[in-house]
Amino acid sequence: MINAMAGHWELGTECPSRDEREESLWIARARTDDEAAYRWLLGQYRARVVRLAAHVLRSNGDAEDVAQDTFVRAFQQLAKFRGQGRFSAWLFSITVRLCLDRRRSARTRCEVPADTAPEAVSADIPPETRLLVDALLDQLTPPMRAALILREIEGFDYDEIAAALKIPVGTVRSRLHTARAQFRDLWTAAQSEENSHV
């Protein structure tokens, strides 16, 4: 077994890329409370964690709070990360868990977060499509949204999503299938409505 830097990988498994080796080095330094390592990891994952939290919570203000809690918890519990999977998968699983906890506590306090403020916008996709996706995300439950974002934006495989959400792989498949079907239905309905107006 090769024990290289912080990342432990076994013979026979896929050899880590240069980026992954660099990340392992930074993680090893972060384990020794190195502030530069913390800053490097923050720079790598800050925007992605905030985006995931914002999509799951549908609230930008809460997303930043959850992202902050995610990094604090991850850095405090860095010893628990054994390097058996991707660091991002471990980090995002903490994010999703905190998001779901926050949703649960908000529901018990009867709070409805709905302050989604659009900022940077991609120019390639027409605004109607973005509205459709927004509508789709509103229709989905937070765990379904998390599965969708992890799959479609972060490119996680089903096993990683199942591990992050602590649900069976079959459930992940069915949730994603349902989400895609709902998006198709929304798209078709929007198209037919536009055609009827024309």
């Binding site: 902050q68 940077a120 996706v133 969708l148």
Partner: protein, 143 residues
């Protein structure tokens, strides 16, 4: 709206990314430097011990409850022996003097008397072997 539907991934990536405030990193690092409460540190160190102790205490209490709630039953004797002795009337033990006074006294007389023969069956008595004294007596008589 264009006719061919975009893939869901494309559409999701087109969603706006929320901005992160300027002091984000500083707040995270400040939270990391904040002192951990004493109870939290104590709980972290004693958690495995306390969990193990509470688990074993629970198991002990369950076992104790099961043991105490069971009815106290005396150990039952062998049912076969009970039937056998209940069916047969008690036989008085022969006295040692009576056995010793019997004329046909031999080495197994006492053992045979104290063994518990079936009361219903009387084993036929074997003819006693002749003694050397009798033979010699008879010989003197003949002579």
């Amino acid at each position: 709206m264009s006719n061919p539907p975009p893939t869901l991934a494309e559409a999701l990536r087109s969603l706006p990314v929320p901005p992160v405030s300027a002091g984000f990193d500083t707040r995270v690092l400040a939270a990391l430097e904040a002192p951990v409460p004493l109870w939290h540190r104590l709980w972290q160190t004693t958690q495995p011990l306390l969990l193990g102790a509470s688990g074993s205490l629970a198991v002990t209490l369950v076992l104790l409850h099961v043991t105490l709630s069971a009815p106290a039953i005396a150990p039952s004797p062998d049912p076969i022996r009970v039937q056998t002795y209940a069916a047969t009337p008690p036989t008085p033990l022969p006295s040692v003097d009576a056995i010793l006074d019997k004329p046909g006294l031999c080495a197994g007389s006492l053992a045979a008397a104290w063994s518990s023969p079936a009361p219903t069956e009387q084993t036929p008595r074997k003819p006693e072997p002749r003694r050397r004294a009798d033979i010699s007596q008879r010989g003197t008589l003949i002579a």
